[in-house]
């Protein structure tokens, strides 16, 4: 038996079945998580704690990422874009790139690294040390106490973080343009503000809400299904991070194509 069975067709079929089963498990987990998040009882303390750890404590890393990305983007457009006079619309390109694509995606990827992995290791360790079983025996539903607050916090925090990313990304582009290519901040901001539409920002925020949910879901799912002690928890942590990142990029493409064809 196993993947190296003598019949390669059977092996392919088995791998496909396993893939479908995994999608089914994640889907079921997501549906239960959503229903727990949307119906009482809620645990406000847990939700607030998750907002603090997912949202607030992610601010430094997200802020730094945004600033450097905005700054690097501005430099690249200046030096690479002069082949087609793109430097005359530098603020506009930075604004568009940050709000529509880089802000939501980079903030989400940073959170996939920081938050999805932390959720997976925490829940995985709780599973391994019977804390989740203990919670059930204490008449408390772990889905409501552990999973729902994380899904809620991740889905709401990420758009807020993305808003910060948008602002700081533009600031990065502005400051680099000011010091290195002598573009006045006033002109830079005026151009950005004239050019940006509400939809540029809103589409990014809608995307990031989806990314936030993916991060919470992958963190909780992989943590909850961790098996085999410390090693299993380690594997769950990695899987949570990698699967969140891949799903974020795939969802980014899908949502962008929906928005672009709208």
């Amino acid at each position: 038996m196993g993947l190296f069975s003598t019949n390669p067709v059977a092996a392919l079929g088995r791998a496909t079945l396993e893939g479908v089963a995994a999608i089914g498990r994640v889907g079921l987990f997501a549906a239960r998580g959503i229903s727990a998040a949307l119906s009482p009882p809620w645990y406000p303390r847990q939700i607030i704690a998750q907002f603090a750890s997912v949202g607030f404590l992610s601010l430094p890393v997200v802020g730094l990422t945004a600033w450097f990305t905005g700054a690097a983007l501005a430099l690249n457009i200046y030096s690479g874009g002069d082949r087609f006079n793109a430097e005359t619309v530098l603020p506009q390109i930075v604004a568009l790139g940050i709000t529509r694509e880089l802000g939501p995606v980079l903030a989400a990827l940073m959170l996939a690294g920081r938050v999805a992995s932390a959720m997976a290791s925490e829940i995985g360790a709780m599973r391994a040390t019977e804390q989740i079983d203990a919670m059930v025996t204490l008449s408390t539903d772990p889905r409501r106490y552990l999973i729902a607050p994380r899904l809620i916090a991740a889905t709401i925090s990420l758009p807020l973080l993305t808003l910060i990313t948008d602002i700081i990304g533009v600031a990065g582009g502005m400051q680099v343009s000011n010091y290195l290519i002598d573009l006045s901040p006033g002109i830079y901001i005026a151009n950005t503000m004239d050019f940006l539409t509400a939809w540029d920002v809103e589409s990014g925020l809608i995307k990031s809400a989806v990314f936030g949910f993916i991060i919470g879901l992958m963190g909780c799912y992989h943590g909850d299904s961790a098996k085999g002690g410390a090693r299993g928890v380690g594997r769950a942590t990695t899987s949570a991070m990698v699967s969140a990142a891949v799903l974020i990029l795939a969802a980014d493409y899908l949502l962008t194509s929906v928005f672009a064809l709208k």
Partner: protein, 179 residues
Amino acid sequence: MRASWAETIMGFAVLAFAALMLTYALGVSGLKHSSGTYEVSARFGEAGGIQPGAKITVSGVKVGSVSDVTIDPKTYLAVMHLSLSKDVKLPSDSTAKITSDGLLGGAHIALMPGGAEDDLKPGSEINNTQGAVDLFGLIGQFIRPQSGSPAASSADSAAKAPAAAASAAPKAAADLPEM
């Protein structure tokens, strides 16, 4: 969750930086959102790439933005809903003209103040409009007669073209051999 003081302080620092930046941006971006706006409309024969959000200028200074673009189902004219800053009072006979910053630049609406005594009221319509100039249509009219027809008839048909440039062109071409 026990967060360290350093993390908390860093979080507030990032928030403060973003707030500072946002205040600065809103201050710089010409139009103050607090002063309020009023809406007027204008009909154009050709919208020429004006989208909601396009800026509206007077003498090159931004005074508002296009809030909506619709079509009048009876006259087939494009109806622009213009959102103007309350600080800018314009005479009722002002002219609205669709123009662009450059060959490929962003289209916007330029308002030229008229000389009437009374001001444009909120909800009223600007009657004097000048639609977008179809740049590629003009170029097409200029090129088409010369291709595939004899030079003589091209000069005839070019004479019928409305643009002065089109009728001037054959002369310029005729001048060339003498140079």
